[in-house]
Every structure is written in structure tokens, then in C-alpha cells.
Amino acid sequence: AASTDTFNYATYHTLDEIYGFMDMLVAEHPNLVSKLQIGKTYEGRPIYVLKFSTGGNNRPAIWIDTGIHSREWVTQASGIWFAKKITQDYGQNPAFTAILDKMDIFLEIVTNPDGFAFTHSKNRLWRKTRSITAGSSCVGVDPNRNWDAGFGKAGASSNPCSETYHGKFANSETEVKSIVDFVKSHGNIKAFISIHSYSQLLLYPYGYTTDPAQDQAELDELAKSAVTALASLYGTKFKYGSIIKAIYRASGGTIDWTYNQGIKYSYTFELRDTGRYGFLLPASQIVPTAQETWLALLTIMDHTLKHPY
């Protein structure tokens, strides 16, 4: 594509194409978008985050990541669409403009670059990182079980061959540690949204314990509003609730850690579908998925703006 206007949002792209897209977007909107490298992957690839900012210093911020599970291709594809949408809507959509006038947005489109490259080159259904575990012939750690929140408890596997292997220790994966370091050093992230597929859920903490989150009532109410907004576009139905109640016990998860760090608005999505294609969602559904998800994201971002803490 010659520009982000002619970029094809309705197909899946390789890592190089996505990184190329990010560079184009930055070049086209130098006063709004910048690209940060927050670390390197196990295999040495750069880990990039797009920063959308209208100015200010260390403003309160919203974090969005897609693709921590590499085979969930509709999430990276949606992340690309969100990035473009942000640049289109700023200055056009009053509600969104108000958000970006006060807050920064950080968007990590490919959260697990090694895994994503592997899905393109060797195994389309690869989910984990690509780190080697000493003493095992199996590769990779589930980066959504590697966070320091109930790490290693029930709801993750100690078997390196399992798809939910939690790793040797919390933050053992550089892809996770890079975000942890970034979140800690930033210190002013107010909403953290981690996007997965599939099964159409909007989830909040906790996954490792049945104890309700301190802000459960507010998180639940906001989730209800977000899924209502999402459904308003195409009627796609999402369930919502705490991770442990809505799906199953899961320890070492991303948003349990962010919530425990004090990021109240910590959510995770599971995007389309509910049981036809799974991780192999046809490319024709990328844009509708991204469009409807954006409405839910807007709801959460708007609430975050209007309920400072």
C-alpha cells in the first residue's frame, strides 16, 4: 500500500506488512502518532507500541493490546483498523476527540511478534511465545499465564508442552516483561484493555481467584454498557463477567496483574466468533469485528475519561 488510505484492512497481513503500516501511519500523522520500541522479543524482534497523543507530559493513558496469542489473527487485524480509526476520528468525532485531548492511547498491535511470525511461516495455530525451556523439547510459554498475579496457581499448566504453560517464573517472557516495565515506568495508565479471540466475551478481574474485584459493581456495569454498544452495530452478542465466572479459572493473567497494579479499568475481550470458525475467522469479518469492538472500546475509554481516579 502506498498509504494507510489504500492499505487493505480486510485481509490478514504479515508482521513486516504490519510494521510497515505502523511506519506509514506515523509518517502521515507525525503530530499525533509516534512509535515506541518497548523491548525485544526472545528471537530478537523489536516490540513496538503506537502512541497517540495530542500533547502534554505523561498524561493519563489508555492501553490497548492485540495479538498476545499469536494465532488470534482477527485481533492483530483489528488493532490495525483501530490505529487508523484513531487518526480518522480525532477532530471529527467529538466524544473521541475529548478523550484524546485529555489522555494518551498506547496501542500494541502485535504483542507476540515471534509467535505471530511463526503463525505465518510454520504453524498457523501457534499460540505461545517462542522461548526455549531448558530440559524440554517443547517451545513457548503462554504469555497470558506469565504475569505476576496468582502466578503458577491453578488455572495454568506447569507442563512446557501445554498451551497454557505458565513459564519458569512470572515475567520470564520478554514480551510480558516489556509491558510490565512500560506500565510501571509510565505510572499513569488508567485503563488497560487486552484483546483476544474468540467466544465473544468481555471480562474483568479476577481469573485466579473467586474473590470479587473491589470495583466489581462498576466494572460489571461498564461491561454491560460496552457490550450493549458493541451489539448496536451488527447485533453481535457478548457475555460479560469476571474471568473465573465467565470462562474458567486462569492464573497469571494480564488484567489480573494490571488491576492489582491499580489500573481500575482492566478488561479483556474475546472477539468473534461463537463456534463456526474459531481462530480461522474469514478475512471478510475483520472490519465488522473491528467496527463493533471499537464501539465497546469507546464506551470504556469515555467512562475512563469521565471517572478520573
Binding site: T11, K122, L125, I247, Y248
Partner: protein, 94 residues
């Protein structure tokens, strides 16, 4: 590239806790090389699992023997992957 010819994704409907437990047992049988796309959770919540061709018969027999209902969600994973790849190539060529 890894080949998924003949792999199926089964949607398993677990009716009660005992069936959830049975499916969990299935998850522990490493030699079957099952890939749970949606893991066993609670009764009423579907379980989706990719089953390699060599394990298909064993898994289906196991489920049927325990009265656990299932449907075939994806008949042949590789055919979907082929379509996906063709579409990507077509866009790149264009």
C-alpha cells in the same frame, strides 16, 4: 509448514460436572495431541477442541462412550487454512 489435513475441530457440549471432568481427563492425554481452542469450563459452556486426524477415532469413541454430545465445528482445518492463504496471496498479487 505444519499440515492440518484431516484435523477436525469438535464442539463438545458438557451437560454436567461429571462430563466436564471427563473432558478434562481427555485434556491430560498428551499422546492425543489435542489443542483446546475453548477449554473445559462449566456445564452448558461449549468446549472446542482441534483433534489431529490420527486421534479422531479415539476421541469420538471416548466421547460417545461417556454419553458426551459433540458436533463437528470444522470439518477439515487445512481446507480453511488453504482458503485463508489463497485470499492473502490474491490481495498481495493485486
Amino acid at each position: 509448514k505444519e499440515d492440518f489435513v484431516g484435523h477436525q475441530v469438535l464442539r463438545i457440549s458438557v451437560a454436567d460436572e461429571a462430563q466436564v471432568q471427563k473432558v478434562t481427563e481427555l485434556e491430560d492425554l498428551e499422546h492425543l495431541q489435542l489443542d483446546f481452542w475453548r477449554g473445559p469450563a462449566q456445564p452448558g459452556s461449549p468446549v472446542d477442541v482441534r483433534v489431529p486426524f490420527p486421534s479422531l477415532q479415539a476421541v469420538k469413541v471416548f466421547l460417545e462412550a461417556h454419553g458426551i454430545k459433540y458436533t463437528i465445528m470444522i470439518e477439515d482445518v487445512q481446507s480453511l487454512l488453504d482458503e485463508e492463504e489463497e485470499q492473502m496471496f490474491a490481495f498481495q498479487a493485486r
